[in-house]
């Protein structure tokens, strides 16, 4: 019970208080401690990738054992090991095979995958955007104006480009700012709840 519940909660509280108070102490030793703790948290956090990769590999191996989509799972497994080993053994320098595979295989796959969304987002907009009320009409109009302003039409029709810039920098900024303030307040509230042990979902069951 002590190691499974009490110690983690004490640790969260202590680290939370240290993390929050270091910000307000301008002494160089406090800044050094903050840097060290940040480095430690990066080190500990990065180690979690072992868990993620292990879980992924286990899933692929289970699928292969069950005879489920063997070829696809093998491709994923081989590419995972191949890419990781290439990086770890040969290095990740700009002229390495690792970077060549990244630029010529992963980047095109990534860019094409996201470009596909262009089709789906258009089709979704066609189905979802109906000028049913004032709010929906405003959303539709703004989206159209921004699309036209960014496109080549905006080059010839400068008023359209100006309007698009104004929309992005004034009402869009105001909306984002309002949401950012709300998100900030939410972050502070959640952080306080975690440090004080009110929020315990992170401990699991």
């Amino acid at each position: 019970m002590f190691f499974s519940r009490t110690l983690p909660m004490i640790l969260v509280f202590v680290m939370g208080v240290i993390g929050a108070s270091l910000y307000f102490i301008p002494h160089p030793s406090a800044q050094a401690l903050e840097n060290t703790l940040s480095q430690w948290s990066i080190a500990i956090g990065s180690f979690a990738i072992f868990l993620a990769i292990t879980s992924l590999i286990r899933r692929y191996i289970t699928n292969i054992k069950r005879g489920k989509e063997v070829v696809y799972n093998l491709v994923a497994l081989i590419s995972l090991f191949g890419m990781a080993l290439l990086g770890l053994i040969n290095g990740t320098g700009p002229d390495s095979v690792f970077q060549k595979i990244f630029i010529n295989v992963q980047v095109p796959l990534d860019a094409t995958m996201f470009s596909l969304l262009g089709f789906y987002v258009t089709s979704a907009a066609y189905r979802a955007f109906r000028a049913r009320n004032v709010e929906a009409t405003l959303l539709l109009l703004t989206a159209i104006l921004v699309i036209l302003g960014i496109s080549t039409i905006g080059d010839s029709q400068t008023w359209l480009r100006d309007l698009q810039e104004w929309i992005m920098n004034v009402p869009n900024l105001a909306q984002k700012r309002g949401i950012t303030i709300g998100v900030g307040l939410g972050m502070i509230a959640t952080s306080v709840k975690i440090i004080l042990g009110i929020e315990r979902n992170w401990m699991g069951g």
């Binding site: 910000y23 990066i42 990738i49 890419m83 596909l116 989206a143 004034v170 009402p171 869009n172 700012r177």
Partner: protein, 237 residues
């Protein structure tokens, strides 16, 4: 030789994979799925190698684990100094592996507690500074902003009047958006109308975000199509 070189080049591989992903537009097929699984595998492998070199090696391996391995004659090379303080993150990091044994799997909560506690503690003043104070400061029509208005006027080629009216619109709109998200007061009467203005601002903002997202996707699509045309030597730029 020229055709063979073209056929077995990195560009041809990239073009084949681009076409494989585009084939999904017709319907889901084995070539698309092969490319999809390849992408997942490569991304995981890439993420692992980059995390090792950018995060794990400088913050854990170099200060502690590699010097220890060198002293145990498991690794060669120039002897690195041991930073004994790093035994603490090493222990926390190794506790992740407790998840392998169901009996001691609860120990994984300790590295989580360290990260969550420190992250939450550090987030409180920073979120207050970046998400609240600075946003409010930029929204309020205060005197140092006058200089900023002149710069904005120059940057966007807007007249000072437009910049000033825009600043007032931003100020009122931010208040309206916050009013809409404030549920401790019933949205009725004048306050309700003000909150409704907040919804209008939100809708305009969502429309603008949607429009720019669509254009970003189209820009990627145009980029891929241009790449294919360049690969086929139809265009040269």
């Amino acid at each position: 030789m020229g055709i063979l070189h073209w056929l077995f080049s990195w560009e041809t591989l990239a073009a084949f994979l681009t076409l494989a992903i585009f084939s999904f537009l017709y319907k889901e097929n084995p070539v698309y799925r092969l490319a999809e699984y390849l992408f997942v595998g490569l991304s995981a492998g890439y993420g692992f190698a980059m995390t090792y070199f950018l995060a794990m090696k400088p913050n854990l391996m170099d200060p502690f684990i590699i010097p220890i391995m060198q002293r145990l004659h498991l690794l060669g090379g120039e002897l690195l100094p041991i930073n004994w303080w790093y035994i603490i993150p090493t222990i926390f990091a190794l506790l992740y592996l407790s998840v392998i044994t169901p009996k001691y799997s609860y120990l994984i909560r300790l590295p989580f507690a360290f990260l969550l506690g420190l992250g939450s503690g550090m987030a409180i003043p920073r979120a207050f500074q970046a998400s609240i104070l600075e946003q409010m400061w930029d929204t309020i029509l205060h005197s140092p902003n006058w200089q900023g208005y002149a710069e904005l006027s120059k940057q966007y080629e807007w007249s000072l009047t437009v910049v000033f009216i825009s600043a007032i619109i931003i100020f009122v709109s931010v208040l309206a958006v916050l009013a809409y998200f404030f549920f401790s007061k019933e949205h009725k009467g004048a306050y309700g109308k003000f909150a409704r203005f907040g919804i209008i601002v939100l809708m305009i903002g969502f429309g603008a975000s949607f429009g720019s997202t669509v254009m970003a996707r189209y820009s990627l699509l145009i980029g891929r199509l241009m790449f294919l045309l360049k690969w086929l030597h139809i265009v040269s730029y």
